[in-house]
Symmetry: C2
Subunit: 692 residues, 2 copies
């Protein structure tokens, strides 16, 4: 790190550029001593002067009357290797500006830190150790993001509890979070302001700049929502409060999460940004040998489609010894590592919607679930059961049981747990996304790391890149997953083309793709519910929707009925040496190519929204010396997510780095492709790919 002290007194404003100069940040003080920042990208103003600061609970404003006492710049350019990820090596390259402020009347100190990358900015507040502040309570963080223009936004309603919404694409001036009230299938939502939206938020300016607003390293703080002022098109941060309406309890020295603004004039490039990861702390886990990206199947979708149930009283209990054995056999036969079993434990008769504190103990199996037999049987077969801890959001209860539960898991050879937070939180009055729960989620990461347990969290706060720090945090839900297609209006076909630009900017998602039986009337003749994609798109999601833990979510019998298509799910890896976002437009389409970890194989996922779409692109990322055999899983010509979703074609071709591919996707469709170095037999058997 190289740094220089710019000056020490009477500083009026400071400017810092990204390494290549694309991004510039200017920081100054208003006449009232209010700190402000503004951001430009390629000489276009992106964020106009926006004020910074806090309102503290003690009644002293902490947002004006400041003077600048110091300003320093420094630079970092380094490379690091994630434990798992989309690429093998990540470059962390930024220029930093650190501004030290003193509030004249109170002598309180505040530091602003801006890290400026070529694809965006992260900034945070630091409250240094000082005589004037020790413990303090933040009533409001008043960070502004003043866009000044009526951008197009891809947004979900601001909510303290849930992020399981589909996205709305409107002008900023048209944002109306009250639409959240119409989404009745979310069991515990808390809407609070009709002008509020959540992050990650995607904006697109009329002059073609894509802007992602989010945060990095959410630790010991509340999640940030954003409230729009429609007069100025300026957002103000709104922290999720606690039971008594405070935003955060801190002790100096303290830092806030990074507020992140990722920028690009090419949508696909936004998806490659590693800035949020770079702003997180390095891994706190030294021995990483037990962290294993993997695929799983599970006793799960059968409950969502109503074939079985979590509880036993219903007399169609899914998690029986016999059924689990069937899944173990299937996993072992087809090379899946994990078997998730939900509904294995006592309590499901009375778990939902009652705000009951003592529901589950996480160590008591139902009598028809022989956990000792099954864990031995899984061991024999070389596979692993995956534990399920539905907390029913009774978090005080879960915290009492956590260590016993982890001990119980390890005793039964389980190395991964899916946690769940359905319903309203206990401690009552706390919200899913408030500081207390954020600390809980992070405590679970730390505690499971201690036990060498991998995590897949459902219904947590949305991720902020903490999987860099806790690589046992394989994946999480924190958005509207595939499950909604089983029992609600579902997710519109564009949903999966927006998620990579929004939710996935913070980290991997357990979207549970791979549904082959698209229409729910297969299970219940009167049902009108369905997955809003073609079958081929379900395959493509394994590539477009990055996660080191992926589920093959459908029922065994549905995979056994279509072994050819199932082959792609068996082949597709979950860890990568390289990733190329080829082309993408939020709400329309995404095409990505990824190179398998430690191998020469590539996989391509291409998806479209409700429109049929033909996309053409080069395979120039392939090794130029090599011939490859490509297997393409595409929509049949007459496929359509609604009219005819399950028709697909599988074709094999020989391809090279000079091949130009042309993919035609059905409405709601997609294409999944595997590309492997060709054998001589392959080149004889299959013809060369040519654009038709």
């Amino acid at each position: 790190m190289v740094f220089s002290i710019l000056s020490t007194f009477h500083i009026k404003s400071q400017m810092v550029l990204s390494p290549s100069g694309y991004v510039s940040v200017k920081v100054d003080l208003s006449n009232e001593g209010v700190p402000r920042y503004s951001i430009s990208y390629k000489n276009k103003s992106v964020i106009q002067p926006s004020s910074l600061g806090f309102v503290l609970k003690d009644g002293n404003n902490f947002n004006n009357g400041f003077e600048i006492t110091n300003a320093e710049t420094s630079s970092v350019d380094e490379f690091w290797n994630p434990v798992w990820g989309e690429v093998k090596t990540i470059r962390n390259h930024y220029n930093e500006l650190k501004i030290s402020l003193r509030q004249t009347t109170t002598q309180r100190l505040l530091t602003l830190v801006f890290r400026v990358f070529d694809d965006g900015v992260g900034f945070r507040y630091e409250i240094p150790r000082q005589p004037a502040i020790n413990h303090f309570i933040i009533e409001k963080e008043e960070t502004k993001f003043n866009f000044g223009k009526d951008h197009t936004a891809f947004w979900i309603p601001g909510d303290y509890n849930s992020n399981e919404y589909f996205y709305y694409k409107t002008k900023l001036s048209e944002i109306d979070a009250s639409v959240g009230h119409t989404i009745t299938e979310i069991s515990a939502k808390k809407l609070f302001d009709n002008n509020a939206v959540q992050t990650p938020l995607l904006l697109k300016s009329d002059d073609g700049i894509y802007i992602n607003l989010h945060e990095a390293a959410l630790v010991n703080y509340s999640a940030m929502n954003l409230i729009l002022d429609k007069n100025s098109f300026s957002f103000t941060s709104h922290l999720v409060p606690d039971a008594i309406h405070n935003a955060a309890y801190l002790q100096a020295p303290a830092t806030t999460p990074w507020r992140t603004i990722i920028l690009s004039d090419k949508a696909a490039d936004l998806l490659s940004s590693k800035t949020i990861l770079n702003l997180n702390e390095p891994s706190k886990i030294n021995d990483i040998s037990w962290i294993k990206p993997q695929k799983m199947i599970g006793i799960w979708w059968e409950m969502h489609v109503g074939k079985s149930s979590w509880d036993k009283a219903s007399s169609k209990h899914g998690a029986t010894t016999a059924n689990t054995k069937r899944y173990i056999d299937f996993a072992a036969k087809h090379g899946f590592n994990g078997i998730l079993v939900e509904g294995w434990n006592e309590g499901w008769e009375d778990w939902f919607g009652t705000w009951k504190e003592d529901v589950f103990d996480f160590v008591t199996p139902y009598p028809d679930y022989d956990i000792n037999y099954l864990s031995n049987y899984a061991l024999e077969k070389g596979v692993k059961l995956i534990m399920h801890h539905e907390t029913s959001s009774s978090v005080t209860n879960y915290e009492r049981w956590m260590e016993k539960a982890y001990h119980f898991m390890k005793k039964h050879g389980m190395e991964a747990v899916k946690t769940g937070y359905v319903g309203y939180i206990i401690p009552r009055g706390e919200w899913h996304d408030g500081q207390w729960m954020v600390n809980h989620y992070n405590r679970v990461l730390e505690k499971t790391a201690e036990y060498k347990i991998m995590i897949d969290a459902h219904e947590p706060v949305r991720p902020t890149g903490l999987h860099r720090t806790w690589p046992n945090f394989l994946t999480c839900e924190a958005a509207r997953g595939n499950e909604f297609n089983a029992w609600s209006q579902g997710n519109p076909p564009e949903h999966e083309t927006i998620l990579p630009f929004t939710r996935l900017m913070g980290g991997p998602m357990d979207y549970t793709p791979g549904i082959f039986k698209i229409k729910m009337n297969h299970y219940n003749p009167t049902s009108t519910f369905q997955v809003h994609t073609t079958l081929a798109k379900q395959l493509a999601l394994y590539v477009t929707m990055y996660s080191p833990l992926q589920m093959a979510a459908d029922l065994i019998e549905n995979y056994e009925a279509r072994p050819d298509a199932f082959q792609f799910i068996k082949d597709v890896p979950v860890d990568w040496d390289d990733t190329k976002y080829i082309t993408a437009e939020p709400g329309d389409y995404v095409v990505v190519a990824r190179k398998e970890k430690g191998k020469e194989n590539w996989f391509v996922g291409a998806i479209t929204d409700e429109e049929t779409r033909t996309l053409q692109f080069s395979l120039d990322f392939l090794n130029k010396e090599e011939k490859y055999i490509m297997t393409m899983y595409r929509d049949a010509d007459d496929a359509h997510w609604k009219a005819k979703p399950e028709v697909y074609v599988i074709e094999n071709f020989v391809v090279t780095a000079s091949t130009i591919l042309k993919l035609k996707m059905a409405p709601g469709g997609g294409t999944a492709i595997s590309i492997k170095p060709a054998t001589i037999e392959d080149t004889e058997l299959y013809k060369k790919y040519k654009v038709k």
Copy 2:
């Protein structure tokens, strides 16, 4: 149990009498179907018709529109032996009336159960298992206690958080809980209504009936405060709310705590009542061999007087290895079983008043406290260290550490823990006396029982007889203890004459008597603080203030300076075969005689308020065949709590069952007496007691 079904339809009202007929309860329905009860004592009306019922959160009132569907009476007369207590055997003798109600419009069922003893009434609500109610939230319990007369009351302000007030004696019409705001030495109080008071509440009618209002078996419910209507002199129950203003979360079948009304026309007899204990469930602990009433000393008062401190940063850390060793030696020499050590663990630099969640971990000693050495040393000396768990009211944190902390205790040979709940509760928004905390205190009782650990809880909800169910619950604070005398306006001389009629009705108190150095200017020349009693009264408190765990609270050096007075503290037992409340008047005086467990020794404690007082009574409780040697520790003739508190006289006399004792107590004074079967030498050495 004998029972009879009274009738099943069109019941208008029911009456039930206590076994001897002193107490009668009448229950009926108003024209609007509101259930009501009234109580008479010896043919005088005590409680006029008072309505019963709830407001539920679902908007359906549960307090009118009822019909009586059934009424049953039954009787119980049984004897049981407490694990420890004031008497060896307790009689449980009552008639019960059980009224089944149905709310016509909702078909909801409610049962009222009245148990009528000769010294009072307990009644509770039962919500049976039924189709119309499963989970439900109580917004308000609206139980009335309609006295209709302007009784004299001994009260402390209604408060969700603290009961560390001294008592106010006023007419009901003069109650004004706003006086609570003047008690600035309580660190976390929550006053909520100027007409609110706490239970146990003592009333005295103009026609000479003493009435104690409280509750028994507070389990899975919020503590009850009472709000007075000054027009009718009627109280309405007010449950402590949770963070979001609900009173209790229940699931049918459910029962509320018993609402108790203890009655007597002789004040001293009120103190003998075992009705609250009888209304609690029998012991849940089978093996009771490890539960040991005991006396302790400790590193504690020295912090209160400013000689040392809990924290280490102050550089006058009390809990050092050397100081603890000194206490171990003293305990072993003088026959004390336990040594409480506060400030032994990391965290005290930053524990108070900051609402910080992660303060203590309960397993990390300060580096100058060698716990391994000290626990071995205590073992060698045949004494036990007593653990201290100050939670700083960060209860979520304590619950995360509890089991590790108990394991740590047992590993170090400790069998008892003093818990503490100073400050505002985390989960933030919860109160000390709300349902969530009530469940916590009870969870601690259950969990410590599992570990065979005895409990002394400080700053918990006030007790309700649960020590019958959990006899490891030796004692608790839950009132204004002796410590307030060290650093505040303290406790007025009458304080200890009121506590037995109020706070102690629910269970033993760790009052920490035994202060010999009465005036704090001994430690700090400018201090005006002092204990508001004479030294002799401090001795008498060991008898008047019942607790199976009693502290000799003063410093070693103060005991060593007065070995003659100290002898009484060494002699006085903490467990009893019999107890006789001889005479008492709340706010004025209390005289009690107790017979040592398994021995023929008796101990008498007599205390007065700020008035000098001479009391005469017979020792007719002694064995008539026996001669005894009596050692009397009395105030010197010129003693006075303020002017001359530390002067006392110790005299020995021969006494028999026919002796009439005449005790003269100084203002704020008292007398402590031990009476043991006399040896022949005694009878030769000492003269016979005669009233002067």
